[in-house]
Symmetry: C2
Subunit: 425 residues, 2 copies
């Protein structure tokens, strides 16, 4: 888990702000859930691997000594959403469309763009089985990617039931399907040979593994169409609808896309760029998950973007606007001695009223040191209050880049600084 | 711990946005730290009560069965800040001014505006002992309160060393000071008699308790001035400087202000409004805390606003702008049958490009049901795509409030909706 210093926070907020605005343009509404869920809410939802990676919270007070856990940190945003939909069912509209941008925690081995605390940016639609839902999610994700400045992404699309058909056709027993998909999910990381070895280690016979991998590489929808009419039809409708959205030209059927999580029941999706193994996000349809909490099925489909991976790629590619590298303030108010502190605070208040971001240097250090502080921190102006200025009710403003200075009334000084800042962009 | 449905999230984001903008105008920079800290980082920083209220996280993997904890959820934002300042010392400027708005967790008994997961909005200045720092914090907090719409708040100011002098003068042994302050801190909740009873329960003799409470009620700075010259002078300078800021007329010396936390060393502050027992926030100087991590003292002073309490009061007083109760979208695109889904998504994309927030109704339900959905959700317009519209490339837009409708090209329709929305404000 990491600290985020000011520059990091600004980059994170820039990305989150863009994703949020796009999601809101699609009619998704914000939702937030607590960091901790009841442990039972999370157990059994993420597969056996997932159970091990959950951070568990010790019971409090007299029960602490038992060493038992009753709460756990959020592992993803989908299971808490399903819990919320079940719990507030009567209060929520149907269809219900929500977005949620919050951290989740997994006791995983960290890697490039992978951390134990990381943010997911989720959008989900609940209450409809229509392929309009999947297509709209593709559109929203494509819009978000474009707004962030990505031009080269691909949204891969597959269907859990087509995978089932192909697994059956390869002669793999149903009981091994889940395990086989975990192996197939690693195709872009460990390649065909790696997956074959892992399939065999998971108990899939060599011939079946080869047959499975061969059909995955064929991978055109037409080749598997016969295997499952309903799923094929669903994929075709999603593709046709997504072509009417911002995802036009970006969606590609890919039979080798597996997605690790247990709860998917229909279409599955993933967004990829060339320079990151693994995805920037993914999702799919999970029509049975809400029912695990409610006893009544509510169809659902969602997509989750990974903030940290997006940040890794954007940082490496230099995709952040220059204006983000902002200084902590527009102007530093400097004083010669402690008696200047009162007038300095008064001038600072006047300048702030015009919208300027103003820092008062707190100590009466030498003026040279105060100016160096401003310069080192990228603060473009220093407002100096000496004895003369305090007497006359004026202020001397130094423009550090232009190496000019001017003494005037604080209102005039503020207007000049605002104009100079606007010119700089 | 609670879920926040869309309306709650919007209110929270409104308040956080205002506080952030004010803090940034004062030159504070954003910082974020992870939810979990090492358990040892937190233990021993919050007093004995505090230790018990920390949520502890079980060790993972093979160590899970031991029932031991190694991590803990953040209990406040001050101790993580001190850890960050010690850890990144060379990378951080001095003075360093940061704000941090994140949740903290305490296994406390919940109450009005008090929850087990709650957000603190902290501002802190590190590296200076100048009273400019305290005064500027008062100014920033006063600005934030005013920007939120509070006109009637008071910032109470006291000094830990004055409290020490008064406790000594009352004849209370040093070893009881901490415990006595916990009792005094409850003055506005349980009254003079309640505090007297609690002081006695904590081992303070009746006469000493009475003497202490009497001097607290005198409470004018002049009355205690003789007790501690340096502290009195510090308070007077903070008052004089704060009078030059947005906190002018809002700061009041109050000898009965105690603040529960152990780590304060100088001035302490609290912001109160009449209709909430307890404070909306508080803070003070803690010059020794960073030294506990670094071995080298770095002076520090901060103020923390409690988001949940602010929300409780603002909700009760109806202080949120009407424009916040936004609908999930500006327009709902409705279709008669599944064949309309493609054209609907195309029109939705066109409308979104103009900046409208657009929801596509996913299922071909009866048009009346779709319109009722829009109406029930406060979506002001419904764009209907029937067979004629699809053929002609037009769209029929219903204005639900005005009960009017118009068929036109999507671009014209978008312009008309944007104009109507702008008129409504």
């Amino acid at each position: 888990m990491r600290d985020f210093l000011p520059e990091d926070v600004r980059r994170r907020e820039y990305v989150i702000g863009i994703i949020k605005r796009v999601y809101e343009r699609y009619g998704f509404e914000p939702l937030e859930t607590p960091a901790a869920e009841n442990l039972e809410t999370l157990l059994g939802k993420y597969g056996e691997e997932g159970n091990k990676l959950i951070f568990k919270i010790l019971r409090r007070g007299e029960h602490e000594a038992t060493g038992q856990a009753d709460l756990a940190l959020r592992y993803d945003l989908t299971v808490p959403l399903a819990r919320v939909v079940a719990q507030y069912q009567a209060k929520l509209p149907r269809p219900f469309k929500r977005y949620q941008i919050q951290p989740v925690w997994r006791a995983d081995r960290p890697g490039r763009g992978r951390f134990r605390e990381f943010y997911q940016c989720d959008v989900d639609s609940l209450g409809s089985t229509s392929p309009v839902v999947e297509a709209e999610l593709c559109g929203a994700v494509a819009d978000a990617m474009s707004a962030l400045g990505f031009g080269d992404f691909v949204i891969r699309l597959n269907h859990r039931q087509l995978l089932t058909s192909v697994l059956n056709a390869a002669g793999i027993a149903e009981t091994l399907h889940g395990s086989a998909l975990v192996a197939v999910d690693k195709l872009d990381k460990i390649g065909v040979d790696g997956v074959k070895t892992e399939l065999e280690a998971r108990g899939v016979a060599g011939a079946a593994a080869e047959k499975l991998l061969a059909s995955m590489q064929a991978s055109a929808l037409a080749d598997v169409a016969a295997a499952n009419d309903a799923a094929t039809d669903n994929v075709r409708r999603i593709e046709a609808l997504a072509a009417q959205t911002s995802a036009a030209g970006k969606v590609r059927f890919d039979l080798s896309l597996a997605r690790g999580l247990d709860y998917y029941t229909g279409a599955i999706m993933e967004v990829n760029v060339a320079d990151l193994a693994g995805s920037l996000g993914g999702g799919g349809r999970y029509d049975n998950l809400v029912g695990m909490f409610l006893g009544q099925q509510i169809p659902a489909c969602g997509f989750s973007l990974g903030l940290e991976r997006i940040l890794v790629v954007m940082t490496e590619r230099g995709m952040f606007p220059a204006s983000l590298a902002t200084s902590p303030a527009d102007v530093l108010v400097a004083t010669f001695d402690a008696s200047g502190a009162g007038p300095a605070m008064q001038v600072a208040a006047q300048l702030r009223e015009t919208g300027l971001r103003v820092m008062v240097y707190p100590d009466p250090d030498r003026i040279g040191k105060q100016i160096r502080y401003a310069d080192g921190r990228g603060i473009p102006f220093v407002a100096i209050l000496g004895e003369d200025e305090i007497k006359a009710g004026t202020v001397t403003v130094k423009n550090l880049a232009a190496q000019t200075q001017q003494t005037s009334d604080p209102g005039v000084a503020a207007a000049a600084m605002l104009e100079a800042l606007a010119r700089r962009g």
